[in-house]
């Protein structure tokens, strides 16, 4: 089996306006075309094209051998992927919703993330686990969890969470080409919310690098995934009030880009972290620590966190109260400004 990814590497032949879900679909198409060791497996991803249509058309194009409907069995999907990966394939496993990744937690924690280390690199299990996450689309219970912190605390796996169609495809291809296992979190709320020009060919975006989405001087807003457009929106509102916000999209949640945080907070002296997951134990705390480590002397106010509350994501009638709101973020911005 050969990889022919070189062939088309980074040739931005053409672009097309795509939603995030289209960009991810296109990313899968690209890797399935370029690397015949790749295969996609998961629940309802074949004929059905995925419950979000992420894999739409892929089984038709690449056949049942490469786009595989599995039994309803998350531990099975990940455990079998370990065996496939160690024996020459590059599985792209879909977990239908991130809230259903928990039954596979053992396989990810004790095997996916540890096999390279345990065998001193003799056996490796490069694979990508795709998982749509997050609240805000009135999905049933458990479907709306944001579980990144359960994986950023798991040495041996990288965690990516794009916020835009362009980043989604480029980071996805990087994830597939990475020699290490990657959890690829997809903000389902953003699947179809916007469009962007996305190259139709092969391109990559470096894992582990954040991106400054808006430049500003007074406060750094730090977020990822579905919270990025919210942060951008609030940054504009703050601007109208005379507060200049810099918006950082982390993009990779493990490893976090320390440099971009250090640089920005050293400049602004103030920071607000925004995420969906509950506050306690959330990744926001890691961001606070990084700022503590890298910008202590520059800080003009304690770092604020605007997050999901310390409750399970409620049923959909209350989910908008669970999620960070513009008002809560603005309040936090004002709090760090007028500390």
């Amino acid at each position: 089996m050969k990889t022919k990814r070189q062939q088309s590497k980074d040739e931005y032949i053409a672009t097309k306006s795509m939603t995030m879900i289209q960009a991810i679909n296109d990313g899968m198409k690209t890797v399935l075309e370029n690397d015949e060791t790749t295969l996609i497996l998961g629940e309802d991803i074949g004929k059905n094209g995925g419950v979000f249509r992420a894999t739409d058309g892929l089984q038709e194009q690449f056949g049942e051998e490469r786009v595989i409907d599995t039994p309803l069995s998350e531990s099975g999907i990940i455990g079998a992927s370990v065996g496939l990966a160690v024996n020459g394939f590059k599985p792209i496993a879909e977990i239908q919703f991130m809230g259903f990744i928990y039954p596979a937690y053992d396989q990810i924690m004790t095997h996916v993330s540890r096999i390279r280390m345990r065998t001193m690199g003799r056996f490796t299990v490069p694979m990508v686990i795709r998982a749509p996450y997050g609240a805000g689309v009135r999905a049933p219970e458990i479907h709306s969890d944001s579980a990144e912190a359960l994986f950023t605390h798991m040495p041996g796996i990288k965690v990516i969470c794009p916020a835009t169609p362009f980043d989604a495809k480029g980071l996805f291809i990087s994830a597939v080409e990475a020699p290490d296992p990657v959890l690829f979190m997809e903000p389902l709320h953003s699947y179809r919310s916007t469009r962007e020009e996305v190259p139709t060919g092969h391109y990559t975006i470096e894992i582990g690098k954040g991106k400054r989405r808006i430049e500003g001087n007074d406060v750094t807003l730090i977020s990822w995934g579905a919270m990025v457009p919210l942060a951008e929106k609030v940054a504009k509102q703050a601007d109208a009030k005379g507060i200049s916000c810099e918006v950082i999209d982390l993009r990779t949640l493990y490893p976090i880009d320390h440099d971009i945080l250090a640089e920005s907070v050293q400049k602004t002296g103030r920071a607000v972290v925004i995420h969906e997951a509950p506050r306690t134990g959330g990744l926001g705390n890691d961001v606070v620590s990084i700022i503590n480590d890298t910008a202590f002397l520059y800080l003009k106010a304690p770092v604020e966190r605007v997050t999901g509350f310390d409750v399970p994501v409620p049923l959909s009638s209350l989910e908008n109260h669970y999620l960070p709101t513009p008002q809560r973020i603005l309040t936090a911005i004002e709090k760090v400004m007028y500390f």
Partner: protein
């Protein structure tokens, strides 16, 4: 496997397969069965239409599974425990769940998880197969207390692929818990047909792995399900342990209102399955149970009940933000109270 033949009491034309069963079938059972099947069918239709109109959220219809759900629920005693999935509100309604709250649940309201006082109905399990273990545990508790109450776990064909299905049945076997493991094999787990879910020809045969009784019944045959349930329940109540029942049925519609089954199954598939209500109707007509006046009264009564439930749902008090905070712990941490209070204050300030 010949060990697990599909059991029927009435055939698709509504005729008794074995005339000896005639004596077991009394008017009350027939009317009860018909009433509940008609009731939940009407509920289901209404829910689908409300969803289309945007008046409730995503909804998983159970059309085609009414016989399995109603018969299994009617066979229970009111002190028994029910552990349903998201598709078993037909069974739940039959067992005494509140209809207004059932609508509320599909409108994203937590009130929908709360059963009427005294009713031992667990909220629907969304993570597949997890509820099987709860049923095993709750019925084990009954056994330890020395009662003869039992628990029923509902689950689909897809659920049998999950580890919790296995761990649940193994526990039930080891501790001989009074549990009915009630499978509705409706042919699909979202888009995956049963043949691709497992290599076994039946679900009933999976009982062999735990040396517990297994049975395979025509899940569209109200009486077959009811009598098989009775047998299993009697065994459970008298110390005979758990039973796995596979009720072979058919998901007529989409997985949920968000699903488009034409993507993965042709419209012809399943056309030959006789609707369980029609089958019941045929039986009733064949054997003199059909009484136009009763039927009409029933229909009218059901329609009124549903209309008034929809009204009640739609005029229900607004979702209460505090509920999100107040039920997480009996003894909530100070920080959680602070989060709550500052958010409520923010809302009031708006």
């Amino acid at each position: 496997m010949e060990e697990y033949p599909l059991k029927q009491i009435i055939d698709e034309q509504g005729n008794l397969v074995d005339m000896q069963d005639r004596d077991r079938i009394h008017k009350e059972l027939v009317e009860n069965g018909y009433y509940h099947m008609y009731r939940i069918r009407t509920f289901d239709k209404k829910a689908k239409s409300l969803q289309r109109q945007g008046r409730i959220g995503t909804y998983p219809p159970f059309e085609g599974q009414e016989a399995a759900q109603v018969a299994s629920a009617l066979a229970l005693d009111s002190d028994d425990w029910m552990f349903p999935t998201y598709r078993d509100h037909g069974a739940m309604l039959t067992f005494g769940a509140d209809m207004v709250r059932t609508f509320l649940y599909w409108n994203g309201r937590v009130e929908g998880c709360v059963p009427p006082e005294g009713k031992r109905i667990f909220p629907a399990a969304v993570p597949i197969a997890t509820q099987i273990l709860h049923a095993v545990g709750a019925s084990w508790a009954e056994k330890r207390k020395g009662t003869d109450h039992i628990a029923i776990a509902y689950f689909g064909d897809g659920a049998t692929s999950e580890g919790d299905f296995h761990e649940g049945l193994n526990f039930a076997g080891v501790f001989q818990t009074p549990t009915i493991l009630f499978n509705q094999n409706n042919g699909y787990a979202i888009s995956v047909p049963f043949e691709r879910q497992t290599n076994s020809k039946t679900i009933a045969q999976k009982a062999v792995a735990y040396d517990i009784p297994g049975a395979r019944v025509d899940g569209n045959d109200f009486f077959a399900v009811y009598f098989e349930m009775q047998k299993a329940i009697k065994r459970a109540r008298t110390g005979g342990g758990p039973t796995l029942i596979e009720a072979v049925t058919w998901r007529v519609g989409a997985h949920t209102t968000a699903d488009d089954p034409t993507k993965y199954r042709s419209t012809e598939i399943g056309m030959d399955v006789v609707d369980p209500l029609i089958r019941m109707e045929r039986f009733m007509k064949n054997y003199g149970f059909w009484d136009d006046a009763y039927i009409q009264k029933t229909h009218q009564q059901v329609e009124e009940e549903i209309e008034s439930a929809v009204k009640a749902m739609e005029s229900y008090s607004k979702a209460n933000v505090e509920d999100m905070f107040d039920y997480v712990f009996a003894e909530p941490p100070k920080q959680l109270l602070e989060q709550r209070d500052s958010y409520l204050e923010l809302l009031r300030g708006q």
